[in-house]
Amino acid sequence: MTSLAFRRRLARRTRWAATFLLLAAAGTTGCGDDLDGASSAADGRAGGSGGDCAYPDGEWSEIEARASREGVVRWYSTLAPALNDRLVAAFARAYPDIGVEVTRATSPDLTRRIDAEAQGGARSADLAVHTDQAWQQAHGTTFFAPLVGPDVTDPDHDVLSADRTSTLVALAVIGYGWNTSVIDDPPSSFEDLADPAYEGLVGLYDYEAPPVAASFAIWSEQYGDDFLAALADQDPRFYASGSALAQAVAAGEVGISAYITPALVPEGAPVEIAYPVEPLANAYVANVLCSADDPAAAQVLANWLLTPEAQEVAAQDAASVLGPDAGVDAPFSLDDVRVTDVTSYRDSELAALRRSLDATFAR
């Protein structure tokens, strides 16, 4: 026979065990989780968490002073690593009290990280510079703060988006390049990349990133439907980023890159670059996140990127976003290039384009 004391102890233990098991089960079965929210927020097309987005307001000098107190801005950037370094060094001269922590990532990786960090409540970027304008537009004003700097908002520059959350900050002009140790007879035009003489020597940038996929579509439009098929016949190798592709050309792993910018080429590498008649240019846009821990410093850096001083650095091998009146010395002007526009692609269209490229390149 079981005593009363024992039954009480048993009941107490059972309650504890039941509570523990319940808590554990809740943890493992995802009690209170949100798969729809995770999918939609993570895919970046559902906007932010809603509500007002706080951002520093008032006189610009006050914002600059506050930025100095904040100390460090966390910058996620898709720009070439060497360009990031040059910009950070120039920014340090302009604002010695504001440090910059740069995280370099490809545009798809950068946007995915920001979405996941927002969803998971982790600290994220203060400022993001990327090429996925569709992602930026999808998030809009609940995710990104309005930009308030005098250079960003200068109507003469005409770089600010209608909702004031995004500004064009850099243009990377895309050329084609070859390793002079590998290629004795270099291509005389971009179309020559499809010349069978270069079979097995061509390297391409993986079209996972929206601007790269858009570039392939533009090439097809510019050089004819057969151009991509001829390029596929070259048995090209694909690389995950422009940096990796430039490194491969510099090493001689591939002889020719169809997608290269000088900022990506290692110093001293035997690489020459040429440009098509109307070269493509990737547009890099900047956004300050509503969740920024250092919003004033982020505003100051975003604004500084639009100053002639910064554009001299950013446009060293490319085009300035400020137009000819700003007096920035650059090898290309906005009129010389065709900016790849990814805002016209919906997700489904982008997916269809990637599938079509997969079929063309048998990937």
């Binding site: 079981t2 995802g30 989780d33 993570a42 995915r112 190798r237």
Partner: protein
């Protein structure tokens, strides 16, 4: 009121079962969380992810490539691992240190080796290919003869890595083999080859089965080589597809989860198969009063074979990394006149993220150790002592992570961190939880082996003298288990600092570790800086291995130069505990 004798017996049973249930929930929770969310995402919205995966015309090719890569790597590993183990087993006494060479790929982090192979076997500028093309008869080739960025290339690299695992199991089994059987075969006129085929090989069946299925598990879940090499040639396997689905913009988490399901289910099925088939491992046990020793001495072929494997599997890739690290630009040429330390300085002193990553790797590894050691100790004691089905279930659940590739665990934790209310994403806790999940089986197995070796007598004597469970643990068991605990700690630190696949999925800007920084450098940095980072990772983890050997002693080495039977720090086919205890 004091409970009756019957009450006390009930209480003891409750305590025993309650403890087992709690351990089951903790270990099951760790492993179940990622598995649960993988299934939930894959089956969400009428199994949208699963349906899209099955409707993808490319899925057949991806699955075929996954299986083909695994099968090729495993076949290569089984042959090479067995031959190397047999060669090492027959080495003369003074050359037995050569038997440690096949373990090098296990002691070195995998990602740096994979990158080192790229520098060696890149079809155009790989150092090995350039050297081979300089040979007569191959000068006409424009590239090759090897191509790392191809299916055979990935099979070769995967096979070299998996060879270590098969070698580990086979060498361990050979060490337990009764040499009299081989002597008897020799006395009956059988040569070494015939004796190996007719006598040794049949006795190695459990080791080959276990080694083969373990290698197959790792082969199906291989990630580093397909990720690094596959993109260039458009080679996709399920794990890389899964990773790409999580890293594209917009990410497709349901599809990523669905792509992980086949590997997950197959892995768990393999694990069940192993336990089922190897329950009767006792049939293959041989015993001898003479002690294990090589029955014969191997010829120079055995020595050269082992040395060649060591050179190809470890020395060459490390040398390639070293040359690239000091070259201004990787060009495939070796020109000592141009060598510079500029990239070393850049990586070590100019890149703050590298220093942070080293610190994070070490800190997360230590935190993992602090969690894993007590948890594994409790689990090991539970499995060792309790004679219940629940304890057997704990043993099973504690070893479940072995059936799940690390990249899949990482994806599962990523899914959990973005969908569950637990604020995990981008936190060190997420990485430590992933590491704990991965490391628990290893630590449990080591401590279980030590507990088995300890025997029940010391604790029973202490109990007879009136010591309670806590006192027995603190004064008897833990001091006696100190070498095993130190070894387990060192092993966890080493494996955690090696970790890359799962970390890639759950890292954030603030939680970068060495492996993820190395991957980022390969993806968007310079090759020389990548090589410097790879060598730094090898050096840091090398210190870990040295510490492991210092703390754990030579007993930590899975295969001893003298081939004495030792506990293997990876799961080996041990008798099912409940059965074994019943027999005893």
């Amino acid at each position: 009121m004091r409970p009756s004798l019957a009450d006390r017996a009930d209480l003891r049973r409750l305590r025993a079962h309650g403890g087992a249930a709690a351990a089951l929930v903790v270990t099951g929770g760790l492993c179940g969380l990622p598995v649960w969310y993988t299934f939930r995402f894959a089956l969400h919205r009428d199994a949208d992810g699963l349906r899209r995966m099955l409707g993808d015309p490319e899925v057949g090719e991806t699955v075929a490539t996954t299986v083909g890569l695994a099968a090729g790597s495993v076949a290569m590993a089984l042959v090479l691992g067995t031959v190397l183990a047999w060669s090492a087993h027959r080495l003369p006494r003074r050359q037995r240190a050569l038997g440690l060479l096949p373990l090098a790929p296990l002691l070195l982090p995998q990602l740096p080796l994979v990158i080192g192979y790229a520098f060696l076997f890149s079809p155009t500028v790989g150092y090995v290919n350039q050297a081979l093309r300089a040979l007569p008869g191959l000068g006409h080739l424009r590239e090759g003869p090897f191509d790392a960025y191809s299916v055979p290339g990935i099979v070769l690299v995967g096979g070299l890595y998996l060879t270590s695992f098969v070698y580990l199991f086979v060498a361990s089994s050979l060490a337990r083999l009764d040499p009299e059987l081989i002597d008897a075969a020799a006395a009956s006129g059988a040569g070494p080859t015939r004796a190996f085929v007719r006598v040794v090989l049949p006795l190695l069946r459990p080791a080959l089965l276990y080694g083969g299925t373990t290698a197959a598990l790792l082969g199906l879940g291989q990630f580093a080589a397909p990720l690094i090499y596959g993109r260039q040639a458009g080679i996709s396997v399920l794990t890389t597809e899964m990773y790409h689905r999580t890293s594209t913009s917009p990410p497709d988490l349901p599809l990523a989860a669905a792509q992980g399901l086949p590997v997950l289910v197959t892995g768990l099925a393999f694990l069940a198969f192993q336990r089922l088939v190897l329950r009767d491992g006792d049939r293959f046990v041989t015993a001898s009063a003479r002690g294990a020793r090589p029955a014969a001495t191997g010829g120079p072929l055995a020595r050269w074979g082992l040395a060649l494997y060591g050179v190809v599997a470890a020395a060459l890739p490390l040398a390639a990394l070293l040359v690239v690290a000091v070259s201004p630009v990787w060009t495939g040429d070796v020109d000592p006149g141009t060598w510079t330390l500029a990239h070393v300085r850049t990586v070590l002193f100019d890149r703050g993220d590298v220093v942070d990553a080293v610190g994070h790797s070490l800190a997360y590894a230590l935190a993992t150790t602090l969690v894993v050691l007590p948890l594994a100790y409790l689990l090991a004691v539970l499995v060792h002592r309790r004679r219940s089905r629940l304890a057997a279930a704990v043993d099973l659940v504690a070893h479940l992570p072995l059936g799940i590739p690390a990249v899949l665990l990482g994806t599962g934790f990523l899914l959990a961190s973005v969908a569950s209310p637990l604020p995990l994403y981008g936190t060190p806790v997420a990485l430590v939880l992933v590491y704990v999940t991965i490391m628990v089986p290893f630590a449990v197995r080591l401590q279980l082996a030590a507990l088995a070796a300890l025997g029940p007598e010391p604790t029973e004597a202490a109990a007879a003298c009136g010591a309670g469970p806590l006192r027995r643990a603190l004064t008897i068991e833990l001091p006696l288990l100190r070498p095993a605990l130190a070894g387990a700690a060192a092993l966890v630190v080493v494996l955690a600092t090696h970790e890359f696949s799962a970390s890639l999925l759950v890292r954030s800007r603030d939680t970068q570790v060495m492996g993820t920084v190395l991957h980022d450098l390969w993806s968007f940095g310079s090759y020389p800086e990548t090589a410097v980072m790879a060598l730094l990772m090898v050096a840091v983890t090398g210190l870990g291995v040295a510490a492991a050997l210092a703390l754990g002693g030579r007993g930590l080495l899975p295969v001893q130069p003298r081939f004495a039977p030792v506990p293997v720090p990876v799961p080996v086919p041990v008798p099912v505990p409940a059965r074994a205890r019943r027999r005893r």
